[in-house]
Symmetry: C2
DNA sequence: CCGTGGTTTGGACTTTGTCCAAAGTCGGAC
DNA sequence: GTCCGACTTTGGACAAAGTCCAAACCACGG
């Protein structure tokens, strides 16, 4: 099994793993979990009532900047966060239940030619998930 | 050349092509244009000052529902609209200038297996555009 | 010319995210 | 053990983006 987000954070040096950061990391953990920042906030409040919105937002941003958390823009309305960075994968949005599902990364990131410098490619599929199909 | 958004809308039956809808369509038209709803609103106001925000938002949504306009979720904050639906293509976000660029669709939409029913695949590349690279 | 249904309007409202100054907390130096 | 400085958190105000709704408007068929 791959190390969890929390375990990966514990390896980071020069970085205080405060109670707030631990709670945010714990809330995010899980297979096929793609929470919004506000969902993270409410679940974090259940574990640590005095945590503030600003902390959750900035902590999420830090995890993303550290490369330990994936930020997804799926609906143009909110951002979702995926703690599973390894192995790389893509996402399916079910047109029926609106759920977000991990999809195996079984395709080489296609090059786009034309002198562009591609750093990463993210694929968003739309269709029906296994439950709805 | 492919028909423009406005030309395609004129073909639609059972649909009133009002002044407001025509203005929205005209504003969107263009190569490599990826406007946000508020950008569409300000440009539409220049042509038709009494147009309202609600109309622009609902008109954009209608065009998307008709399949005549592509909605992009690139930054989790706002939505952008692309009138060029044919030929299909993908998008690059330049990490340097933050611009959005069309990228040729030169890759077969990969299947994702596992009994999923894929309807469409959208690829978002991150990297540097030809100007910045 | 009237009624009907689709369309637009303005404005209030919600959601999501950002910013900032003040307060709190941790770890190392001494 | 205590103190200092740097890092972290907090609450609240603010901003941006989008939604909702009742009333007004308008176009067309009858």
């Amino acid at each position: 099994m791959h190390p969890t987000l929390l375990e990966r954070l514990q390896q980071q040096r020069g970085y205080r793993l405060t109670a707030q950061r631990r709670v945010v990391a714990q809330v995010l953990e899980g297979e096929n979990l793609h929470l919004t920042a506000d969902e993270v906030l409410s679940q974090a409040e259940a574990m640590l009532p005095e945590i503030s919105r600003a902390t959750v937002y900035s902590t999420l941003q830090q995890f993303v900047d550290m490369g330990q958390l994936l930020e997804l823009s799926l609906d143009g309305r909110s951002r979702r966060y995926d703690p599973n960075i390894d192995p790389p994968h893509h996402h399916l949005i079910c047109t029926e239940c609106d759920g977000v599902f991990d999809v195996a990364h079984n395709v080489a990131a296609p090059d786009a030619g034309d002198g562009l410098e591609i750093e990463s490619a993210q694929i968003i599929y739309r269709g029906r998930c296994t439950d709805c199909a």
